[in-house]
Amino acid sequence: MNKRERFALAAVFALLAAGVTLVMVQAKAEAPAPAVQEQEPLNCSECHQDFQMEWASGAHSSATNDPIFAQAWADQGQPGACMVCHVTGYDPGTGTWEQDGVACTACHNPVPTNHPEEPMPVQDTTELCGQCHSDARFGWQEWQTSTHYQRGMDCTVCHDPHSASLKNVEGLEAQGPSGLCVNCHRDYNMDFPYSNHAMAGLNCVDCHLRHFGSSGGRTIHTMPDHSFTASLTSCTSCHDREMHGPTDAATGAEITTQAVVPATNGALAEEPAPVSPYGFAGLAGLLGLAGGMVLAPWLERAYRKLSQKEKSS
């Protein structure tokens, strides 16, 4: 056989070999993953970039690296008790931890072996958040007395755990944290803006979510009162002088309540569009046409008379 035939045969062999190898290798690559816990943690941010970015912008990610915390921790001799909450996967025995900050597996565990087929556990419970936010200094107990908790709500109703901040609802950002309150308690937003308290610049959280007390002068580990009750303390924080004395606050003034007109979708109207002016114009045109056709001979006669007059004059 000549060179060309030999080359052709060799090419066929090569293709065959490559093909068989490819098939065998692919089959191996698709073998099911071993049912053993991965030694290194799943890199969540490979798929969940949005959550990664949210997390990176919030307090949970900087729980360890925050300069104020780092300074205070160092000053106190690097106590391990702080690390239970300020890192992920703290091992008190060895004093090491898996990740800085409050990372994914701090809340989303145990990690299923066949994720993403099986979803990550997401526990939207007060108990989960309370594992860290439950110190005596935090005052988690007030939350348990609130109607919100008793109705089955949890922290994530208002707080976004990834960005470790309040959720924001479009259209209500201007009201700050109170925007979230009025998003559910819309009835109060009808009259409250016209009240004296509102005119004085107060909003929901100023009375219903006050910060009380401090631990040693610091407000670091304190939480606003999540019982949401506007207690006497809320009032006296501003009106303490008026407790037993004469008050110059306006009383019983006529609070004119304006019915807030619901924002209608611009496309809907109560009445149909009026009759079109073009229709009127068209009708007038038609009438003019008919009239013109009827009057044409007289008009022509009149015109001729006029032009004759001009000719003669």
């Binding site: 109705r151 709500m153 619901p262």
Partner: protein
């Protein structure tokens, strides 16, 4: 024309028989035009408790995030429907997943079909965007993609993460009862309506528990018990669509 032997009488006879046959066939086939009933293993239904709904729109936002919906479109709409004793009343309207859905009847390419479990599902690869279903739906539950949705979804990730692909420009979309979550949950042995991972996002995210989801075929499920114990209504029952979303009236619950 000269070669045909068809005279007027024969033609009329032929025409009459054909019309009668076609008409008869149509009536026969009409019986198939509804879903539900004892077909599937489950019959999913949703209950919206108006006495608990505060109109906070969390359900809409969760839906928008989990289904990657254009911010200009809402699969779920929360509507203000007046006030009772000064307290505002809201009504959340997802797709009704009607047992006898007008949208399934009118789609020329059968892009909307009934699943055995009662969910009306959309095949976005088949839809040609004629918008007949949008005209036919009495609940305005369908939205057309006038534009392609590109760019960031503002509801992600605060309200959830997308679980389905974005729809292209030129197709009509609607609520799916988060069938992707239901199917995944069932495969893992979870119970839709009880286990959050198997339940529609709007139901999971509602802070007051105003939305309940479950299996009507199971007489002891949450929805079955609710509907047994409370008066409920559905929207536009006079149209005969037999929707699967039930509403508990606003003054039903003692916590009102």
């Amino acid at each position: 024309m000269s070669e045909t032997n068809l005279n007027r009488r024969d033609f009329l006879k032929l025409a009459g028989v054909s019309v009668a046959a076609i008409g008869g066939l149509q009536i026969y086939r009409r019986a198939e035009a509804s879903s539900g009933g004892p077909e599937g293993e489950h019959q999913w239904a949703m209950v919206v408790d108006q006495s608990r709904c505060t109109g906070c729109d969390y359900c809409t936002l969760a839906c928008r995030a989990h289904n990657d919906i254009n911010p200009e479109i809402s699969w779920n709409q929360v509507i203000e429907t007046g006030a009772i004793s000064g307290k505002q009343v809201y009504l959340a309207r997802p797709c009704m997943h009607c047992e006898h859905a007008p949208c399934v009847d009118v789609c020329p390419v059968q892009a909307s079909t009934y699943r055995p479990d009662g969910i009306v599902q959309m095949d976005y690869d088949r839809c040609i965007g004629c918008r007949y279903c949008e005209v036919a739906c009495p609940y305005g539950a369908r939205s057309f993609n006038w534009e392609a949705f590109t760019g960031r979804n503002p509801a992600v990730p605060q309200w959830g993460q997308p679980e389905v692909a974005r729809r292209p420009r030129g197709v009509v979309e609607k609520c799916s009862f988060c069938s992707q979550r239901i199917d995944r949950g069932l495969a893992l042995g979870l119970t839709p309506g009880i286990d959050p991972d198997a339940t529609p996002a709007c139901v999971v995210r509602c802070p007051t528990g105003a939305r309940i989801f479950g299996d009507l075929k199971d007489p002891e499920s949450n929805v079955s018990q609710l509907l047994r114990g409370h008066a409920s209504f559905r929207l536009r029952e006079d149209l005969g669509t037999r929707p699967r979303v039930y509403y508990l009236p606003p003054n039903g619950s003692p916590e009102a």
